[in-house]
């Protein structure tokens, strides 16, 4: 055991040594190489660094010194470990040098992120100044902290870090998301500003500074070449600063692209000018031959055009590669980054303009890459790019702030003032002159305000700062002064101009951009207009017109380039499809959202849906009674009153038009596709994202089957309930002999029923379904009262599983305490219902609340088609012929009501009519052919209430019916319920008669309604007819 442990210890130590020492020595070597390369580049720089506590390129310094330290430490560690071998092993050690470089970098990134968060959680700061200012301030504060804690060497903004690592992400982002069309539309203007403007700035500023220097104002000798070098650095507008500021102020896109495009492309000029003047300086003014000037001009062309060409080549390569990257989806976005970066590095390799190369690379590859890569890769690409660019930008500003704090400043007031002055003045003059020239040719004339913003938006930034750091002090002794001046200029432009440009834009009312996604129409029509304008230019003979050139490019693009670079290239106008699919996507998302809302809404609506149907149709039949009596349902009626007169319940239930069918289909498709099955076992693979089938298609049939299974379960449960509750339902109040008899009957029935089990499918009574709601109903005694001859109030219960109809009479007189115990069960159940609920709502299963306490409650109907309350579905103007005839015959004399419509005997109708209708509140009929109808009669406060009694039975019945017929939707279920049934009902009636069951009708009515019995008499056929008229005087008839 001990030998093993010793061996492990030894292995561990050796591993530690192997890991530590070679790594550190390798790093040290690397650092040496680095320093040497820096030496080669700027030898004096490093000397200076080592002499005078440097601010410049501290990373190298830090790293080299750090590595040197580490090497020492490594040695010491070696010794330590030797010692440890002898003594003991440390549980934990601290080895910061081991991680120092990435640690510091990560810490900076973290600080940058935190600063950004801080900026965005304090909204007031954002109103005052742009983000870049805050970041610089934060950076400066950190710089101060580091400086006073003696850690100023941590300050990391070195030209190499800046140009090689931090600038490329920003430029790639800018190039990749460059609005190509806008850029090329304004290409000439941008080029003019970028090239001529920058050269103009550089020369004028340089000569002016030199001129001023001749007067001895600076107190320092400034040769012409030095000032020219300085001016070439300071003249360039900085893309990073411009991006940061202009993205916040949202000026119109032409203005934006002009300033931004200029800032991107002038890099070529800056690089060339810088290298040119640097070279001249090194050569010495006297040694310059005319050939060198010529070479300078030529090098400009080479740098800019070469950079652009290089970018295009790399871009095309990236596009071509992206044709095949769909095999390796997960690293698809990588190619864009790597190839872009390579284009930048290649350009830098040849001293071409890396920024121009990367910009063009991004612009070239964008369209093709976007067509090739998958949607997810696109998202990844977009966010990664934005993230990198944003982070870089933040860090650049932070570093800029941190780098200002050093001991190395050489403040020269006049030089600073003159620089700022000349920068501003010459920029303005340059913009004015160039715009004046451009406006001769431009279609979109640049107005004065825009010119002002262009001049004012010429921000200087980190590029200039990084460039001036590269300047070698060997040839330019006044370097530290230049650095200080550049910092001041950067601060001046970023702070003063950056902070004021936003308010100025608002104050001067510069046209701001309102970027919105193009609609389908806009996209299509603008495409058409493009072609049209190209055609017009052709006709007018303009062979260099924008539209003409674009059209030509498009033509060749489609013909030659796209087939090479894109996978799916038969679409000529990918943008149209892109817009279409984008819009569709948003539509679908909206639909999902709406569907969710709709789902909840319909669920609420379902509560009133059927009653609203009935109500509205009744009201449309009874226009003359509509004063005030139906007010409680305005919400529903107002929309339906004017809309239709459809009296056929079946028709009403299902009258699909083509549109309805299409809608239904769509709905099914959508709900199918939105149905998410439980996640299956998912095999995880590192390099494959299962993208093709995120979730398997779920077919409509499968879904319906599942639904049925679920429903079966439910209905089984429900049946179970019934069985258990049958007995509970038979509450008999055996006061009168008749009611006793009923109870006996019922018991018999129950017994027989229990033997029969549940096989009664269609032998069920087909009756008693109609119900009306009682509005504004506040009496307690309204509820379910059945009156016998003798007894004032009875509750009736219809036993549901029975094949016969049995009514139990129960007494529920509110004033009569003796009956209360009999009725309390029902009255309780009804009393729990909110009074505002209509009876329909309290009874129909799919409307009932689930808070039924007693077991008799039926399961809530879940699937009620969401379209049932859709107005469009029951806006129905044509009546069926059968009804039309009846209505038209009565039409002139009186409004047809329920009885006419449903073919009831005239006398009844007359009776009802002749009654003092005002006294009747509700009149509920359930009849043989199962078409329920209600007539809502005007109500008075003390009027009688007519109400169906056998609520629960009806409701159970309906439910049963629905499930038995296997109706897929409640309405179609009802449909079958209403229409399938007559046969069954007849059968039932005969059966019933055989079984000596009688149809019970209990009526509770006012004395005024004396004729109702008569009416009921004439209604022999109806197997169940329940009318409750409740008032003080109650009268009931049993037929």
């Amino acid at each position: 055991m001990s030998s093993v442990s010793i061996r492990t210890k030894l292995t561990f130590i050796s591993v530690f040594l192997i890991l530590n020492l070679p790594a550190s020595s390798a790093l040290a070597e690397q650092a040496r190489v680095n320093t040497e390369s820096v030496h080669e580049e700027t030898p004096r720089n490093i000397d200076h660094l080592s002499k005078t506590n440097p601010t410049v390129s501290p990373v190298f310094h830090t790293s080299s010194s750090g590595i040197a330290n580490r090497r020492e430490q490594g040695n010491s560690i070696e010794e330590d470990t030797k010692n440890h071998e002898n003594h003991r092993y440390h549980v934990a050690t601290v080895d910061f040098p081991h991680v120092s470089i990435p640690y510091i970098i990560s810490a900076w990134i973290l600080i940058a992120g935190l600063a950004k968060i801080g900026f965005h959680v304090t909204p007031k700061i954002g109103l005052i100044c742009p983000e870049s200012c805050i970041l610089i301030v934060v950076g400066a504060i950190i710089g101060l902290l580091l400086f006073y804690t003696g850690l100023e060497r941590v300050g990391p903004l070195t030209p190499n870090v800046f140009f090689l690592y931090m600038l490329p992400p920003i430029i790639l982002d800018a190039g990749y998301f460059m609005p190509n069309r806008l850029f090329f539309d304004n290409m000439t203007s941008i080029l003019l500003y970028a090239v001529v403007g920058t050269v103009w700035n550089a020369l004028t500023i340089g000569f002016s500074l030199w001129g001023v220097g001749l007067t001895g104002l600076y107190g320092v000798d400034m040769p012409l070449l030095d000032t020219l070098l300085f001016s070439s650095i300071v003249s360039a507008v900085d893309p990073v600063a411009v991006l940061a500021v202009f993205e916040e102020i949202h000026v119109n896109e032409v203005l934006y692209i002009l300033v931004f495009g200029e800032s991107l492309l002038n890099d070529a000029v800056t690089v060339v000018l810088y290298h040119m003047f640097e070279g001249y300086t090194e050569m010495g003014q006297k040694n310059i031959l005319p050939i060198d000037y010529l070479a300078g001009v030529l090098s400009f062309i080479v740098a800019s055009l070469g950079g652009a060409l290089l970018g295009v080549v790399w871009g095309i390569l990236a596009a071509f590669l992206s044709r095949f990257t769909h095999h390796v989806l997960i690293i698809e976005p990588l190619f864009v980054f790597v190839l872009g970066y390579l284009s930048y590095l290649t350009a830098e390799l040849f001293h071409l303009s890396g920024i121009v190369a990367l910009t063009f690379c991004g612009m070239t590859m964008k369209n093709y890459v976007e067509e090739n890569i998958s949607y997810k890769s696109h998202i990844t690409l977009k966010y990664t790019m934005k993230m990198l660019a944003n982070t870089s930008e933040t860090i650049i500003f932070l570093f800029l702030g941190a780098s200002t704090v050093n001991e190395n400043h050489d403040w020269n007031t006049w030089f600073v003032i003159m620089t700022i002055l000349f920068c501003s003045v010459y920029r303005s003059i340059g913009v004015l002159i160039q715009t004046w020239m451009l406006n001769f040719f431009r279609l979109h004339k640049i107005n004065k305000v825009e010119q002002f913003i262009m001049a004012y938006g010429g921000l200087r930034g980190a590029v200039a700062f990084a460039l001036v750091l590269v300047v070698s002090e060997k040839y330019i002794p006044s370097k530290s002064m230049m650095v200080t001046t550049i910092i001041v200029v950067v601060y001046f432009t970023v702070f003063l101009q950056g902070m004021t440009i936003g308010p100025l834009v608002r104050f001067l009312n510069v046209a701001t951009s309102n970027k919105t996604k193009p609609s389908m129409n806009e996209r299509l029509h603008t495409r058409l207009i493009d072609h049209l304008m190209a055609g017009i230019e052709d006709i007018a003979g303009h062979l260099i017109g924008n539209y003409h050139l674009r059209d030509k490019f498009k033509h060749y693009n489609n013909k030659f380039i796209r087939p090479l670079l894109t996978r799916d290239h038969h679409v000529k106008e990918p943008k149209i499809f892109e817009t279409y699919s984008k819009l569709n996507l948003t539509d679908a998302m909206n639909l999902v959202k709406q569907n969710n809302i709709m789902g909840s809404v319909t669920r609420i609506d379902q509560k009133i849906s059927l009653s609203s149907l009935i109500r509205s149709y009744t009201q449309s039949n009874l226009p003359r009674y509509s004063d005030g009596s139906v007010l409680s349902s305005q919400g529903v009626t107002s929309q339906s009153e004017s809309s239709f007169v459809n009296l056929d319940m079946g028709e009403l239930a299902y009258s699909p038009s083509y549109k309805d069918l299409a809608d239904a289909q769509l709905h099914h498709i959508l709900s199918d596709s939105m149905f998410k099955p439980p996640r299956r076992l998912h095999r995880y693979s590192r390099d494959v994202i299962d993208e093709t089938t995120p979730h398997p298609p779920f077919h409509h049939k499968t879904r319906m089957q599942i639904r049925h299974i679920l429903n079966d379960k439910k209905s089984k449960k429900r049946k179970g309930y019934h069985h258990n509750n049958v007995r509970n339902d038979y509450i008999c109040n055996g006061k009168g002999p008749k009611s006793q008899k009923y109870s006996r009957q019922k018991k018999q029935n129950t017994d027989s029923n229990s033997r029969k089990t549940t096989s009664l499918r269609f032998t069920l009574p087909a009756s008693i379904s109609e119900i009306s709601e009682v509005e504004n109903y506040s009496h307690q005694n309204q509820e379910m009262v059945l009156d016998d001859d003798d007894n004032p109030l009875f509750g009736t219960v219809f036993s549901p599983d029975d094949n016969g109809i049995t009514f139990t009479a129960r007494m529920t007189p509110p004033e009569n305490d003796t009956h209360k115990r009999d009725t309390d069960k029902i009255s309780q159940s009804t009393a729990t219902m909110p009074l505002s609920c209509t009876i329909t709502e309290t009874t129909l299963p799919w409307k009932r609340d689930e808070n039924c306490t007693d077991g008799c409650c039926v399961w809530k109907q879940q699937e009620f088609p969401p379209w049932v309350d859709n107005k469009e579905y029951h806006v129905y103007t044509s009546l069926t012929n059968t009804f039309m005839g009846k209505i038209s015959s009565d039409a002139d004399t009186k409004t047809p009501d329920v009885f006419t419509v449903f073919g009831l005997e005239k006398p009844i109708q007359e009776d009802t009519k002749n009654e003092n209708i005002n006294t009747v509140n509700k009149f509920i009929v359930s009849q043989t052919d199962n078409i329920g109808a209600e007539s809502v009669l005007p109500k008075e406060e003390d009027s009688a209430n007519l109400e169906i009694e056998n609520v629960e039975t009806a409701n159970r019945f309906i439910n049963r019916q629905l499930y038995n017929t296997g109706a897929e939707s409640a309405l179609s279920g009802e449909y079958s319920f209403y229409h399938v049934h007559p046969k069954e009902s007849e059968e039932f009636v005969s059966k019933n008669q055989k079984a000596e069951n009688k149809v019970d009708v209990s009526i509770e009515m006012q004395d005024k309604l004396a004729k109702v019995p008569q009416m009921l008499n004439s209604w022999q056929e109806s197997q169940a007819f329940v009318i409750n008229l409740s008032d003080e005087e109650i009268m009931s008839e049993r037929l």
Binding site: F441, T526, M533, I536, I539, H548, K572, I576, Y580, L583
Partner: protein
């Protein structure tokens, strides 16, 4: 104005054209040069075939339509120089001082609208839209895809529910677009 007489422009015609179209003298003479160079037959008028002979127009997917819209004002299928200039003047840039000229926003839009509206009923029907879509995106696209795009476009624009895009609806959809600039070209001086 007879066809023959337009071969050589009279001074008063110059003036009329200048008044009507807002072109400068130089522009008109330049356009006149273009007109005569297109008029290979020296008839003083241009027919459709003269336009279709322009090579760039031949590769324009909407070349036919453009020519069709160009001839919308002519009755006999030919246009003379004056009509030619009139049509082209629609695409002149709008100056702030002038109003209700041929190059107004509405006139520009009207021209674009005519590109769709083949049967001149002032409505873009689904079929007309589909035909243009076909020209724009090429033939390899499935009919349903295009149809769904066309449907979507109509649905989006159609406010009165007639499943057609009227000129007003057409204008409404392009409200946000800078038609004045998009549908202008810089005529050479």
């Amino acid at each position: 104005m007879g066809n023959k007489s337009s071969l050589v422009l009279k001074p008063e015609e110059w003036e009329e054209i200048k008044q009507e179209t807002g072109f400068t003298q130089n522009q008109i003479s330049r356009l006149y040069g273009r007109f005569t160079s297109l008029d290979k037959m020296n008839t003083g008028t241009l027919g459709r075939e003269d336009f279709l002979r322009i090579p760039e127009l031949a590769i324009n997917p909407l070349g036919d339509r453009i020519v069709h819209a160009f001839f919308s004002e002519s009755l006999d299928g030919t246009i003379n120089f004056r009509q030619f200039v009139r049509v082209l003047s629609r695409f002149r840039r709008i100056k702030e001082s002038e109003k209700d000229k041929l190059n107004s926003r509405e006139e520009k839009l009207r021209f674009a609208f005519r590109m769709y509206d083949l049967d001149d009923d002032d409505k873009i029907s689904r079929d007309e839209l589909l035909a243009v879509l076909h020209m724009l995106v090429g033939v390899d696209i499935s009919e349903e895809q295009l149809a769904s795009i066309a449907d979507r476009t109509i649905m989006e624009a159609d406010t009165d529910g007639d499943r057609l895009i009227s000129f007003e609806e057409f204008c409404a959809t392009l409200e946000r677009t800078d038609i004045e600039e998009k549908m202008s070209i810089r005529f050479l001086h």
